[in-house]
Symmetry: C2
């Protein structure tokens, strides 16, 4: 037996017991006649003690143990004279009688500490060592607990977990598929699913009215920071429901996860329309941990001779509470806004001073009385700072959104542990691409318009179509899109119309999605669903901004696993069996 206990469980009550522990040598130190070794495993660290008085040979062997050696040690649990209050096992130590080296270790390429000296690439290459570090280990344990809580909750609600296939069919619409050449049917390919969308809809047609799955999905995209070619979704679908049934269920799930894993009781989730989200936050994923809602100022600010405002499509301001910036700070903020990433032309400010005076960059164009008159609209008081941007509507909203977030960051309003979820609803159904002169699906081609817009969709003109609302919704927490979904089309005719609007010929629609439209003809119930990004959810719940450390073996930004060195070349025999020829001799051979 390698161990009777783990390295995190011995306490004062165990003093006097004969036990054995196995684990990794975290560190060692010699103090006169004693040698101390911190032995680590997944559960914690226990101090081992070797005494020169008791056993010279054993103690000398212990002194030769290197970092990360794996050993098994036997001995008696002893109360420590010098207790370590920062460690759960800090009251005791193990007086070692006997130990065995189970495996030695080379010196690890970075320190196995909470704060390591290893860079990203090095940690990726030796991921198995990186996972020994508490932060990464704890993330993976959190993820495991979270997935189990998801399952317990959904099971309680009558959801059935059903595995959908990974080897499916490629559909060129949307993001790029990863494909898998078929050997038994040379010249044809499977595709890896970007999501189980069509299968979960078929399950609704099959009567499995509450489906879920925690499932890997795949997208062959040009990788941006914090995107992974394979990622995990909590994927759900329900039949005989309306939008609010989905929102209620998954608000309940979210609430359960925060409660059971973080002991956080979330308030009810506000619901805000897509249009309002843009109007008040300039973003369809607003962070509502702090206020600074947008106020549109055209009515007050136009026609006073300030040409920048007069010519602007939108004039929008935010009120920053209890802030007074120096001229230098205001100038620096304007520079920040002018960087190409943001691209604002300039910024207008009004500083309502404590003494009742004000300072403003547009004092030339507006009287003090006028600017004081803006306060009530802006919800501003003395000591507040109002920041105003103007210009083309969409661009100005984006810039103001960035400014709002930046002010919150600077003022420390994005507090860890403060979680403010909300639902964004009533998304547009279709996005018009002015260059290509065609529609794209805002969500995906299976999303239903809102019930009272179906008729408009079947017969409306271009302008009507541009304004159609979808029965689609996103869950947003602290400015992160956690999930999204929609009520689906369950009627063949409406689905055909949607494909038609999205530029599919009837033949293309039939070839790619004929199986789904066919299924709609055999009694498809009304249905809808949602998917949460599981990696993102785990990260957001832990106030993290990157998903990579919630994934045991992530790919780097080039889509490579640098630990196992994948992707890699394959044998000519394999290529031959698949009936494939490489177009060019690649650079990796």
């Amino acid at each position: 037996m390698y161990r009777t206990h783990n390295c995190g469980e011995l306490r004062l009550k165990d003093v006097g017991k004969q036990v054995s522990l196995s684990g990794w040598v975290q560190s060692g130190r010699d103090l006169g006649g004693l040698t101390f070794i911190d032995l680590r495993d997944r559960y914690g660290i226990t101090q081992l003690v070797f005494s020169m008085d008791d056993n010279v040979d054993l103690c000398e062997r212990a002194r030769k143990l290197g970092r990360e050696f794996v050993i098994a040690a036997k001995g008696v649990v002893n109360e420590r004279s010098n207790k370590n209050m920062n460690r759960e096992t800090g009251d005791i130590e193990l007086m070692v009688d006997e130990f065995e080296i189970l495996n030695p270790s080379k010196v690890p390429p970075f320190t196995i500490e909470d704060d390591t000296d290893g860079g990203d690439e090095l940690r990726m290459k030796y991921r198995y060592l990186d996972i020994r570090r508490n932060p990464v280990k704890n993330n993976l344990i959190f993820r495991s607990k979270c997935s189990l809580e998801v399952r317990k909750y959904l099971d309680e609600q009558g959801f059935i977990e059903i595995e959908t296939p990974f080897l499916i069919k490629s559909t060129p619409e949307g993001a790029r598929d990863f494909v898998v050449p078929s050997r038994l049917n040379q010249g044809t390919f499977y595709a890896l699913p970007q999501s189980p969308q069509t299968f979960k809809q078929l399950l609704m047609v099959s009567g499995m009215d509450k489906y879920y799955q925690i499932v890997k999905c795949f997208r062959d995209e040009d990788l941006r920071a914090d995107r992974q070619p394979e990622f995990t979704q909590i994927d759900c679908e329900m039949a005989f429901i309306h939008r609010d049934d989905v929102l209620d269920n998954f608000e309940g799930l979210t609430r359960h996860l925060f409660k059971s894993l973080l002991y956080v009781n979330l308030d009810e989730f506000p619901r805000i329309s897509y249009d309002d989200a843009l109007k008040y936050y300039g973003s369809d994923k607003p962070d509502i941990r702090f206020d600074m809602k947008f106020t549109e100022l055209s009515e007050l600010a136009k026609g006073k001779g300030f040409s920048i405002f007069d010519e602007a499509e939108l004039i929008v301001g935010i009120c920053v509470k209890n802030v007074n910036l120096s001229n230098k700070e205001l100038k620096e903020l304007t520079e920040w806004l002018r960087r190409p990433q943001i691209g604002a032309q300039g910024m207008v400010y009004i500083s309502y001073n404590e003494d009742g005076t004000l300072k403003s960059s547009i004092g030339k164009y507006f009287t003090e009385e006028e600017l004081n008159g803006w306060k009530s609209v802006l919800n501003a008081e003395q000591r507040d700072l109002v920041l105003i941007l103007s210009g083309e509507k969409e661009r100005t909203r984006k810039q103001m959104s960035e400014l709002r977030l930046e002010m919150a960051r600077r003022l420390g309003l994005m507090k860890d542990g403060d979680f403010k979820p909300l639902w964004v609803i009533d998304f547009p159904l279709l996005e018009w691409d002015e260059e290509e002169k065609r529609f794209f699906a805002m969500h995906h081609p299976f999303t239903s318009p809102k019930r009272d817009e179906i008729e408009k969709m079947m017969s409306g003109d271009l302008e009507t179509l541009k304004n159609l609302k979808a029965d689609a919704y996103d869950l947003v927490i602290n400015g992160n899109e956690i999930g999204g979904g929609s009520i689906r089309i369950h009627d063949r005719e409406l689905q055909e119309k949607n494909f038609n609007l999205l530029g599919f010929t009837p033949e293309e629609a039939e070839k790619q999605f004929g199986f789904l439209m066919g299924a709609f003809e055999y009694g498809a119930p009304p249905h809808g669903g949602i998917a949460f990004g599981f990696d993102r959810l785990c990260a957001v719940m832990n106030n993290q901004t990157t998903i990579r450390d919630y994934i045991a073996f992530p790919k780097n930004n080039q889509g490579k696993d640098i630990m196992i060195d994948a992707p890699d070349t394959i044998d000519d025999k394999q290529l031959d069996e698949l009936g494939l020829i490489l177009k060019t001799v690649n650079n990796y051979q």
Copy 2:
């Protein structure tokens, strides 16, 4: 709201309530002034009643509803005068006031009944209709419950579920990989995992000492009956353990699943060596629901002048209790054995009659006294039938195993609901291929020899190597291999030796598995694990022989999904982006 209740939950206590139900029209019948419709959903069937007296128009609309129409109906729950005891809702019916057709249905291509008239291919093409049938639906629900129980149990035991990657590296050893061409790194390929083997071992190196995952695996094999290119494993690994820790844990898991899902208390699992399994059952996955163990008879039967026995490498008999076959039946049984699938030359029998006499096909060569003397060895009594085969050892054992199973089938000894698990242990480490003059791994190249055989492995000659025992084990239930695993090598030198024995050059071993051997140099703990075939486990727990109906969307025997028509051709643009050319114009374009 589409429904207040589902179609399986209304009871006598609900009589008088105003409710609404949604579901599919299972069947309808008109009886004078009344029309009855059976409305079905996932939860059951409820009878709807429409009365000509109450509402002619409504009743006439109801009479036009076709099979599988989806409707929502409102009304009052009524006690039935004519109760249906075979149905949980059979005490009540819904007197319908109002209903809406949510979606009509074409006539389904096969009946949605427990026993359908649909053939396999048709049911696969319309899988979404097939899942509406109770047998398939219940299988999927069972599978979902089973996976949740697996997770609950392993979580209780401290196991962490960790997702391993799907886009990994191809390793030509073993079965064929499915590969995924990389677009960002043209000319290179990912492979889909045949199992998470190397990753779970790396997780052990990383200190996550109890890992599990319910995970899809992929094998591009020439498909045999009841094989699927993608299948699901319960995959586990543990560190700081010996073989019996793994067996105890997963015996516990199996026991928990049978208890919680089937209310079956399993006996303790016997453990039998691979050698004994072959000796006593002729198979490494014996069905021990019945006895008929093999008895080797060489000592008794040789040297009596019966040349067939005298020349045989093995003479082996089984005792079939309380059976007396006629000459015709014995002849038919011999014919059955001679079919090419079995390939036996002939069969010897001894029938110990009730009256103390005996009848035997070898009466010419052996005295009655001799044959009576065999009884105690064979554990035979009066009224028993002994069947004997002889010849080359391995082949004869296989034939006898088939005969044993056939006799059990004929005698009804393979009882549904009777579950007899066992562990087969001490498998050979290496299999010698006489034609290729090389070793193959019996389990896989990461399997450790038994501890006391490591030295023999490092330095043994060919004969020694052929007889090495692995620390490997299989779980067998009722003749089905449910799972298998082993203690792994955790030492670089031993792993290199194993690759060498398996015919890898050091360069090949390094290219393919260098990352794993490298990890062994940084403090790899002793570890081992197991994987259960989840599809198979579900089928066996339900006394089924085929896994296909425990998979929501299976592939057919050609690896095709005929519902969605995958695999399929892909766009030239996709091929181009991947840097691939098809060798021949395929037949599918």
